[in-house]
C-alpha cells in the first residue's frame, strides 16, 4: 500500500502539484489520469523519489519514504519496478542483459538461475528469440514489453508505469494493459499507472485518480467515472465523439 498525504511540488516557484492526498492499494491497478501537462509524470516521479517534494508525506506501508536517507530509500527501491514513458532500456546492452541488469546488481543467484529468471520474465511478456537484440532493433511495443520484463525481474512489490501504452496501436495497447493487470493480480503488487487513454481507463481502471492542473479533482472506479459531476473530468472523458455518442444513446 502506498499512501500520499498533502503532497506539494513546484518547479522554480511554479506549483505543479498541490495538496494531493491519495491511497493506492495492493493487488489493484491504480490509474492516474489527466490531460497532458497536468502533472502525472511529476506525481509518479515524486512518489518514487526521483523528484524531491516541497512538502507532504509519502508512505510505503508503514515507512515514511520521503524522509529516508539513500540507504533506506535503496531498501524500498529494491522492491520497486518502473516502466518509463520512453521505455528507458539501456542502449548499450542487449535485451537479455537489460533484464539481467537488476539481477546482476542485487541478487546472489548463480548465472544459470539468473538466465532462467530472465527467460521466464521475457516469456511472461511474450518476447521470444530476441535475447541477443539491442533496443534499437526493437519496435516500440517490444521495447515496452522488455521494459516490463526488466521491471518485474526482481519480483517487485510496487510497479509504476508511465503511459505504458502511449504510441501503440489499440490492440497492442490493450494487450499491455491486460498484461500489467494480470501481473498485478498474480503477484499482488501495488501498481500505479499514468495514462490519458480512455480505453485503458475503461479496461483496467479499478481505482482512478483524476488530476487537473496539479490538483486532484476526482477519485473513483471505472463504473463511476461516466456519471461524475466534475466538469473537467467530463470534458476529459467525453472528449472524443465516440464517447459523446455513447452518452447520448444512454440517456
Amino acid at each position: 500500500m502506498i499512501r500520499i498525504v498533502k503532497l506539494n511540488k513546484s518547479f522554480n516557484g511554479k506549483p505543479v502539484l498541490q495538496n494531493i492526498s491519495v491511497t493506492f492499494e495492493p493487488g489493484k491497478t491504480n490509474l492516474i489520469i489527466g490531460r497532458s501537462g497536468s502533472g502525472k509524470t511529476v506525481l509518479l516521479k515524486s512518489i518514487v523519489g526521483l523528484h524531491e517534494i516541497d512538502s507532504g508525506e509519502i508512505w510505503y506501508e508503514n515507512t515514511l519514504f520521503n524522509k529516508l536517507d539513500f540507504i533506506g530509500k535503496k531498501r524500498i527501491r529494491s522492491e520497486m519496478g518502473m516502466l518509463f514513458q520512453g521505455s528507458a532500456l539501456f542502449d548499450s546492452l542487449t535485451v537479455e542483459q537489460n533484464v539481467m541488469f537488476p539481477l546482476d546488481m542485487f541478487s546472489d543467484k548463480t548465472p544459470d538461475e539468473k538466465l532462467e529468471r530472465v527467460n521466464f520474465c521475457l516469456n511472461r511478456v511474450d518476447i521470444h528469440d530476441a535475447n541477443a537484440l539491442f533496443p534499437s532493433e526493437l519496435s516500440g511495443g517490444m521495447k515496452k514489453r522488455v521494459a516490463i520484463a526488466r521491471a518485474i525481474a526482481l519480483n517487485p512489490k510496487y510497479l509504476f508505469c508511465d503511459e505504458p501504452n502511449s504510441g501503440l496501436d489499440p490492440i497492442t495497447a490493450i494487450l499491455i494493459d491486460a498484461l500489467i493487470k494480470e501481473l498485478t493480480e498474480e503477484y499482488s503488487m501495488t501498481t500505479i499507472i499514468n495514462t490519458h487513454d480512455m480505453n485503458s481507463v475503461m479496461e483496467i481502471g479499478e481505482k482512478i485518480v483524476f488530476i487537473s492542473e496539479g490538483v486532484k479533482c476526482w477519485e473513483g472506479n471505472k463504473n463511476e467515472i461516466l456519471n461524475s459531476d466534475c466538469d473537467s473530468l467530463n470534458d476529459f472523458v467525453f472528449a472524443n465523439s465516440l464517447a459523446k455518442k455513447l452518452r447520448a444513446s444512454n440517456k
Binding site: L50, R75, G86, P102, M105
Partner: protein
C-alpha cells in the same frame, strides 16, 4: 519544427538576459556549478555495490576510451614530431648551432608539452565529447532514472569506471605519443636530409633528463581526471533533449580544455621550479 523554433527562440532570450545578468548572479551560478561538481564526485567515489560489475565496466571503458584512442594519438604524434624537427632545422640553419640540437629539441618538445598537454587537448575533444554525449543521452532518455529507481548509484556505476580506465590508460597513450613522436621526427629529419640519422640519435640521447618523463606522466594523470570528470559532470546534469546533449558535449570539450591549460601552468610551476 515547432520545438526547434521554440528552442531557437529560448536560446536567444537566454543570451539577452545573460547579457544583463549582474555579475554577482553569474558568480553565484558559477559557485553552484562548482559545488554540484564536487557533490557529484562524492557520489562517484562512494563504495561500489557490486565490485565485480565495476571491473567488467572498467575493462569495457579501457577499450572504448583507451585502446580506441591509440590511433589518433599515434597519427598526430608522428606528424607533430615531424613538423617540430623540420621547423627546428629551418630555424637553426646557422652553422654555429650543432646539428644534434635538432634531435634534442624534438625530444624535449615532445616529452614536455606535446605528449601530455597537446595530447590531452585532443583527447578532451575525442573522449570528452564522447563521455558527455553518452551520459547526457542516458539522462534525457531516462536511463539514469531507471538505474536510480533500481537503487543503483548511477553516478558511481557510470562514471567511476571511466575515471579509473582513463587514469590507467592515458599514461600509456603518453608513452606511445613520446615514442611515435620522436620516431616521426627521425623519419622527417633523415628523409628530408636536414639531419643525419647519427646526429638525430645523438641529439635525442644528449643531456637526457629522465625526470621530464615523470613530469609528463604526472600531468597526464591530472589531465585524464580533468577530462573524464568534467565531461561526465556536463553529461550527468543535462536537462532537456538532444539539443542540450549537444550543448553539453561542446561545454565538456571547452571547459576541460580550459582547465587543462590552467593546470598545465600550475603543475609546471610546481614540478619544474
Amino acid at each position: 519544427m515547432q520545438t526547434g523554433f521554440k528552442n531557437q527562440f529560448n536560446r536567444n532570450t537566454i543570451n539577452i538576459s545573460n547579457f544583463g545578468m549582474p555579475n554577482y548572479r553569474r558568480m553565484i551560478k558559477f559557485l553552484t556549478q562548482f559545488g554540484r561538481y564536487f557533490l557529484l564526485l562524492k557520489k562517484v567515489f562512494s563504495k561500489p555495490e557490486k565490485p565485480s560489475l565495476y571491473f567488467k565496466q572498467t575493462f569495457r571503458e579501457l577499450v572504448y576510451l583507451g585502446v580506441n584512442s591509440i590511433g589518433i594519438i599515434a597519427i598526430i604524434s608522428f606528424f607533430m614530431g615531424a613538423v617540430i624537427t623540420l621547423q627546428t632545422a629551418y630555424n637553426t640553419e646557422n652553422p654555429i648551432y650543432p646539428k644534434y640540437l635538432i634531435g634534442l629539441g624534438c625530444r624535449d618538445s615532445i616529452i614536455l608539452e606535446f605528449s601530455s598537454t597537446v595530447a590531452a587537448l585532443i583527447l578532451a575533444g575525442k573522449v570528452g565529447s564522447n563521455i558527455a554525449s553518452e551520459i547526457g543521452t542516458m539522462r534525457v532518455t531516462e536511463q539514469i532514472d531507471a538505474m536510480e529507481i533500481m537503487g543503483v548509484n548511477s553516478a558511481s556505476y557510470l562514471i567511476l569506471p571511466k575515471i579509473v580506465a582513463t587514469i590507467l590508460f592515458n599514461p600509456i597513450l603518453t608513452l606511445i605519443g613520446i615514442i611515435v613522436g620522436i620516431f616521426g621526427g627521425w623519419i622527417a629529419g633523415t628523409l628530408s636530409g636536414v639531419i643525419t640519422s647519427e646526429n638525430f640519435i645523438y641529439g635525442i640521447q644528449y643531456a637526457f633528463i629522465p625526470y621530464y618523463i615523470v613530469y609528463s606522466l604526472i600531468k597526464t594523470l591530472f589531465f585524464a581526471f580533468i577530462i573524464t570528470s568534467i565531461s561526465a559532470f556536463q553529461g550527468y546534469y543535462v536537462d532537456g533533449g538532444s539539443l542540450e546533449v549537444g550543448q553539453a558535449s561542446t561545454k565538456a570539450v571547452v571547459f576541460s580544455s580550459v582547465v587543462i591549460l590552467l593546470f598545465n601552468v600550475i603543475l609546471t610551476q610546481l614540478l619544474l621550479s
